[in-house]
């Protein structure tokens, strides 16, 4: 199995405060990894390290065979908690198109119907269809619901056909059925297109059955492994330093209860 990204003995600091240290993590091709942990644990920071937006204080990192930041065009990224209010009069598909060519200088001139333009349009139609956003991609993004916006933003991150997809809380602000369908969509991208996905989430439960591996960040450390290895009462309690309990449901699925950071307690304010 080929290595997509690796951190070795990595530590990150914002100013004087160390966010996490002694982190060894590998992402292998085609796996779906959940990044979990409480607020402020450094989950977003981890993605920023992979993108080359945040430097390491100690240790080393490589992404797609190069130092972070050098293979940026092969990474799709969905930043945390973006939403567009109703006054934004830009269609979803124009936003998706920015994922494809938004960084290119110039201005698309009316009346240029080159082959490149046709290829771009076909690609945008394809990613919109892939995330199931066809029905609302021509509406202004501000008029789409949170879940619809999230799908369009995933399409934007997919536009350049990335090898590595970094999604920062794409399930935030979605209801349970939508959390499940977005999780299933991401898993399908992994399985069918072989994209490696790192997805940040607060609550592991809606994701648990889709993930190949989980990485927990808490109290300055990281813990990684398959869900069966990591998601146990002992390991999570030790990591969080609080009573976390892992239950096995009658259908064999795991359920984590008592995370210090369940969305129900924490996220009421920002919706």
């Amino acid at each position: 199995m080929s290595l997509v990204a690796a951190l070795r003995g990595a530590a990150v600091a914002h100013g004087a405060a160390t966010v996490w240290s002694g982190v060894d993590i590998e992402l292998t091709a085609g796996e779906f990894v959940g990044i979990l942990g409480p607020n402020g644990a450094g989950k977003s920071t981890f993605l920023e390290v992979l993108l080359g937006l945040q430097g390491l204080r100690e240790g080393s990192a490589s992404v797609l065979g190069a130092p972070p930041g050098e293979r940026r065009e092969r990474i799709g990224y969905l930043p945390q908690r973006r939403s567009f209010d109703a006054s934004v009069r830009v269609r979803g598909r124009d936003l998706v198109a920015l994922g494809l060519d938004g960084t290119r200088w110039g201005t698309p001139m009316p009346g240029t119907f080159g082959r490149r333009r046709a290829a771009a349009r076909a690609r945008i139609d394809a990613v919109i269809a892939e995330v199931g956003a066809g029905a609302f991609a021509n509406r202004p993004i501000g008029e789409c619901s949170g879940g619809e916006q999230q799908r369009l933003l995933i399409a934007q991150a997919l536009a350049r056909s990335p090898d590595l997809l970094l999604l920062d809380e794409p399930l935030d602000s979605l209801d349970l059925p939508n959390q499940a369908s977005v999780s299933a969509l991401v898993q399908r991208l992994c399985r069918e297109d072989g994209i490696t996905v790192a997805l940040v989430a607060h609550d592991v439960n809606p994701l648990l059955s889709y993930l190949d591996r989980v990485i927990y960040f808490a109290r300055g450390r990281a813990l990684s492994g398959t869900p069966a290895e990591v998601i146990t009462t002992e390991k999570l309690s030790a990591l969080y330093g609080a009573g976390v309990e892992v239950l096995r449901r009658s259908d064999g699925r795991l359920v984590v209860v008592g995370q210090p950071d369940m969305p129900a307690h924490h996220h009421g304010h920002d919706h």
Partner: protein, 283 residues
């Protein structure tokens, strides 16, 4: 000059174009309308209307400073508007990121300082500025060939800059976070855009006046964005609206002797209100 409005538009047009000053005014007005619409389209998208208003206030110290120094008015307009743009660009960033709170504080302060400086220059100058009313509300009577040519060069420059940075600027304007992560030089672009805005405002304020520049910049673009969500169509519509509004305002101003800025504003706001109303009704 004895303007009289007839029912025949052709006669009216013929009457207008008889005077060289009116030809200059139409040319200058058209150039200014095109820049205003293009730059204004991004102002609306970036929600920088307040910045835009403040930069137009910079024309007051610009005009009085130029009078004090004995320089042409236009140079004062440009120096102060671009200076104000730079002050806002560099003052309103917190650790490299755009901060709305910091920005509105800095913009407000720059506006207040501009007014203070304007009065200081005015009192040092001792005299009365040729026409305060013209400064504030605009006039098309005195536009010279040289002014038209300067405006044309500014427009070409602004157009070239926008054509170069258009797409990444659009990206940074609607989706700053993603654009930054994608490697778009968001900060550099916002500085470039503010300087461009300063230049546009200085150009427009010479014709429409300080107080109403804002209307020509923001209203056509806002109207166009209300009417359509197709990007190129709304950009083209903004330009068309701004040009037509300016022509209509020039004609109205000529036949009624009302200040040009007043006419532009009235027409622009009526159209904006219609667009708003038609949208609300369609819901």
């Amino acid at each position: 000059m004895n303007p009289s409005f007839s029912a025949n538009p052709l006669t009216d047009l013929h009457q207008l174009l008889q005077y060289p000053f009116m030809v200059n005014a139409l040319e200058a007005g058209t150039i200014v309308a095109v820049i205003a619409a293009l730059v204004g389209w991004f102002v609306v998208l970036r929600r920088e209307s307040f910045v835009c208003h403040t930069l137009s206030v910079m024309s007051f110290p610009g005009a009085s400073g130029a009078a004090l120094a004995g320089l042409p008015l236009a140079s004062g307009y440009f120096v102060f508007a671009v200076g104000g743009a730079l002050a806002i660009a560099f003052g309103s960033r917190v650790s490299g990121r755009r901060s709305a709170m910091q920005e509105s504080a800095v913009v407000g302060t720059v506006g207040a300082v501009a007014l203070g400086l304007g009065f200081l220059f005015l009192s040092l100058y001792g005299g009365i500025l040729e026409s305060v009313e013209t400064l504030l509300f605009g006039s098309f009577v005195g536009i010279t060939r040289g002014q038209v040519e300067t405006l044309f060069i500014v427009a070409l420059l602004a157009g070239a800059v926008l054509a170069t940075v258009g797409r990444p600027l659009f990206y940074a304007s609607v989706d700053e976070q993603a654009a930054r992560a994608d490697g778009v030089p968001v900060r550099a672009l916002s500085i470039v855009f503010l300087v461009l805005l300063g230049m546009a405002v200085a150009a427009i304020a010479q014709i429409v006046g300080v107080l109403l520049t804002f209307a020509l910049l923001v209203a056509p673009a806002a109207t166009a964005q209300l009417l359509t969500d197709r990007l190129r169509l709304s950009l083209a519509l903004a330009v068309a609206l701004a040009v037509l509004e300016t022509w209509a305002a020039l004609t109205l101003s000529y036949f009624t002797n009302e200040a040009l800025g007043f006419c532009v504003t009235t027409i622009a706001l009526v159209l904006y209100a219609c667009a708003r109303a038609s949208r609300e009704l369609r819901r």
